[in-house]
């Protein structure tokens, strides 16, 4: 660790991992409700479990991104973080808000109160006071990282990272607009969610991957930057109008079917670019960095993002196909592998790289961490295939043959059992990852001679 304030990242990462545990356990519970639907139906209904599962995912990914920014910025801009105190205040606000959301979801206190209660939305559901808290925290964060960057060296990596983080915070403002018209509500909802995951988050992803490639492979910065520009250009070109693929059936004009189909088909290109980038860098790289776990996660991230977001996304993005598959288990298959591949793996990659440095036990070969990669990646890939088969059968029975929804659900129950099994593996992998990052202090297996390696 070169800069004292990089330590801020440690706390962010630990909180993120705690929420990661909550998220996968929530997912496991939701997966169990699929096979045994009456479980906790009074105490913790499925819609609440699902909301916890998806929202805790988003929050821990955001905490991870912010932690990553606090870790990367000092090193790139050769400058301590502007104000460590503000960084901790910001984290405290976010943690308080998260607890507030969970309490509001589960116990539904303050029903109907415009400031404290639920908003009655399927998505972007936070009480108003939490939304305001998120904006305050985001402003503190942007102030802190921007000041740091302005004072120090400006690199392409930090510029793209900051562009992504600014976009992330500004787009969240659409969450405050809550029109009574459901079509409008959904239209603006995608301004937040789509323009996040298929827009500005891709900038954050590309810049964090670029940082990792720079450190792990020792390739020239100039080469990394050229790739970064091209990935970012193709991501924004395809992703912004690709929003149209959410406007097929919500009451928006029909030209969105063609705009959405054409542009979102191109969204596979930046993900292919990121995969090609990661592998070419590793092949070209001269450095044999001892942190193999971080490299494994980085390559796994680029690969699984290409398949989960790129290929599985394309699978049902054309409106002629989506007419049949919309809202079936095909969507769930894509959602799981895309989020795991792109943003979960990205976070776990930067955790794997940064945590040994932050905890002063570098180099450290993290064998348990690598085992957890294969558990999680294997479990998630199996889950994706299972849900894809379930979705294909469901699409045919329900949308082509016209069978009733619940009759079809009974017929695809076997897939839900297999999905639950896959979920168990993923949860075991996640818990093993957290253990591997936080607990062991000594190397378990000694690696080969690496005395020539400059560990950065």
């Amino acid at each position: 660790m070169k800069y004292e304030t990089q330590k801020i990242a440690l706390v962010y990462f630990v909180v993120a991992m705690a929420l990661f545990a909550v998220q996968v356990l929530g997912g496991l519970l939701a997966g169990w409700i699929y096979v045994s639907p009456n479980t906790l139906s009074e105490l913790l209904p499925f819609n609440i479990v699902r909301m916890l599962h998806t929202n805790s995912l988003i929050v821990w990914l955001l905490l991870g991104f912010m932690g990553a920014a606090y870790f990367i910025l000092p090193e790139e801009s050769e400058q301590e973080i502007h104000s460590p105190t503000l960084a901790y205040v910001q984290l405290a606000i976010l943690v308080l808000g998260t607890l507030g959301v969970v309490v509001t979801y589960v116990f539904n206190l303050f029903e109907g109160n415009i400031f404290l209660g639920k908003e009655g939305r399927e998505f972007l559901e936070q009480p108003m006071w939490v939304k305001i808290g998120i904006v305050v925290a985001a402003l503190i964060f942007l102030y802190n990282v921007t000041m740091t960057s302005l004072k120090g060296r400006k690199t392409t990596i930090t510029n793209i990272l900051l562009l992504g983080l600014w976009g992330l915070a500004l787009l969240f403002l659409f969450a405050f607009y809550n029109p009574a018209n459901l079509s409008l509500d959904k239209q603006y909802w995608w301004y937040v969610v789509h323009l996040w995951v298929e827009g500005v988050w891709e900038l954050i992803m590309a810049s964090i991957l670029a940082f990792l490639m720079l450190k792990l492979t020792g390739v020239d910065r100039e080469v990394v930057e050229k790739w970064l520009y091209i990935i970012v250009a193709t991501a924004l070109f395809s992703g912004i109008l690709g929003t149209g693929h959410h406007y097929y059936w919500i009451g928006t004009p029909p030209y969105w079917q063609w705009i959405g189909s054409i542009f979102s088909s191109l969204e596979v290109i930046p993900f292919f670019g990121m995969m090609a980038f990661a592998f070419v860098m590793v092949w070209k790289g001269r450095r044999d960095h001892p942190n193999k776990a971080a490299l494994l996660w980085a390559l796994g991230c680029a690969t699984l993002a290409f398949f989960g977001a790129g290929v599985w996304g394309f699978l049902h993005t054309l409106h002629g196909v989506n007419y049949y598959t919309h809202g079936t288990q095909i969507t769930a298959a894509h959602g799981h592998l895309a989020f795991f591949g792109a943003y979960v793996s990205l976070n776990l990659a930067i955790f794997s790289y940064a945590m040994p440095i932050l905890r002063g036990r570098d180099p450290y070969n993290q064998v348990l961490n690598m085992a957890s990669f294969w558990l999680m990646a294997g479990g998630m890939t199996f889950m994706t295939f299972v849900l894809t088969f379930a979705g294909t059968v469901q699409t045919h029975l329900q949308r082509v043959q016209g069978d009733y929804f619940m009759d079809v659900q009974d017929q695809i129950a076997v897939f839900y059992w297999m999905r639950f099994g896959a979920g168990v593996i993923v949860v075991l992998g996640a818990l093993l990852f957290i253990y591997a990052i936080l607990v062991p202090r000594r190397e378990i297996i000694t690696s080969g001679p690496d005395s020539t390696v400059a560990a950065e």
């Binding site: 520009y229 091209i230 193709t234 070109f237 030209y255 705009i259 191109l266 290109i269």
Partner: protein
Amino acid sequence: MSTATKGLPGEVLMWVLIFSELAVFGAGLAIFMALRLLDPVGFAEAQLALLPGLAGINTILLITSGFFAAMAVQSPHLARPWLAAAALLGVLFLVIKAYEFQHKAALGISFETHDFFMFYYLLTGFHAAHVVAGIGILVIVGWTKHPAHIETGAQFWHMVDLVWVLLFPVVYLL
């Protein structure tokens, strides 16, 4: 990477943009032609509402404008007048285009009248938006007067040109 891009004139990122644009317009035109195969009579009937003469004039305007932009790259000391002429023809193109859209609107033709018009509005509308952006770019590179910037601007302008040359026969003539 560096060896591959060494022989490439102009800005690499502009080439990335140009290929992306060509992919989008190419996909749009391909879908348009595929839909026409399914409904040749309806498409032919719808096409009668277009004004191919004006579109022909617009083609000449854009190609001439592209020539002026190329001249701006060729003769740096006269770059500004050439760019201004190129931008002016772009504005004329937009005036004619606006008349054309207004003519369709007067006939009560909208996106939803027919698949033909859906793609007519999407393709020529997107293209017109690029002409607007292109004029802005020509003005900016004329302002900075840097030869590399002018080359990049001309790159973009030629792409706008090329897309129109592909659109014109497919939408108005075939």
